[in-house]
Amino acid sequence: MNKEIIQVNELCLDYGKRKVLDNVSVRFEQGKTVLIAGNNGGGKSSLLKCLAGVLFPDSGDIRIDESVSKEKIGFISDRMSLFEDFTLARGIEFHSGMFKVKPADFDRSLLDRLKLDMGMKIRDLSMGERAVYHLSLLLSQKPEILLVDEIIHTIDPYLRELFLDALIGLIDDLNTSVIMVNHTFTDMGRLPERVLIMENGGFIFDEQSEDLTGKMKKIVTDKEIKGDIPVVFKNETPIYNEYYVYPYTDELAAGTGYEFQDVDLTQVVKSFIGGYYAKKRI
């Protein structure tokens, strides 16, 4: 339907003995917003860094559509790397210069709310201020691809909403492809159209958001469940057990006779992560 903007083929990356990326292949469509979630150390940040060109895989390749020039790719990691000795003003000037942003086009709406002194150094910003600052820089690039790694939670809810508004504007204007790495869903509104979950350097879940709640359900019971049911995670409480089932199909309900309840998106992600940790304990 939409054209492919990023193509990832068999990416492998090892840190010593640990496989950070294990033969990862995935395609990203233009104009779509994707959320990549998963347990810590699953490889999400590394994948994003590879997409940004900041990390090179051991093997495999990444193909970004040739119509996207490097100036149109925005990347921010949880390290929020910038030149700390720069003043805010110099940082803006530098970034604009490098990414070919005209000073008039620089959108200060987010920054202005913080009421920061442009003469202060970047290193003196708090984490949240820094995130907003860095994101402002990225937004001003009018990026066609935006790669954001786990910083949303560092921004307070008010500014977060402003950021999401700005992002929505970007997607609407430029058809920006957004790939965000985050743990939670709620910070992001309903922006992600696709959810990927990474575990041990590979994808274990890849669905469109609108299909999510249809494909994942839970069974709440105080007994053990029987039958051939794909349980991703079992959450034990003193009163009952919750069995998270994926993928859910109607035949499953009919066949087993259990009552399947709907789950919300955060529970989806949490259950996968929980499942990973459960496996590790075994």
Binding site: G31, K32, I168, L191
Partner: protein, 124 residues
């Protein structure tokens, strides 16, 4: 204006929920014929949705004839009374069919249902 909550735990996809909510507003005349809907961007910002999602809703609504999109000026409600009436009828019909199904599954007969109907309607 439009106000609705999106149920995150519902199995119904978001865009479906939004679409239905807009349709309901049109049917209940909270949105009248010729009213301008919010731009895709604005609605997306209000609901914290992806603009693509909102766009999907609007295209779908346009296809089904509820709204009309004009380049540059946005989407307007296109609600003809006859059409609305037909729609309202079909909605009620669906609801009633659902009620009948439930009643039959509980063991009621056609006569029981008729008697119930008459009793309820006489009180209105």
């Amino acid at each position: 204006m439009l106000k609705f909550n999106i149920d995150n735990t519902s199995a119904v996809p978001v865009y479906q929920q939004v679409k239905q909510a807009i349709i309901l507003d049109i049917l209940s005349l909270r949105l009248k014929d010729g009213d301008l809907l919010p731009s895709i961007r604005s609605l997306a910002k209000i609901l914290k949705l992806n603009p693509n999602t909102v766009a999907k809703v609007y295209y779908s609504l346009e296809e089904e004839g509820y709204i009309q999109g004009q380049r540059g000026s946005g989407y307007r409600v296109k609600a003809q009374k006859t059409k609305l009436d037909t729609l309202k009828l079909s909605i009620i019909e669906d609801e009633f069919k659902g009620f009948l199904q439930k009643a039959f599954s509980l063991g009621f007969t056609k006569d029981d249902i008729e008697a119930l109907m008459r009793r309820l309607l006489s009180h209105e």
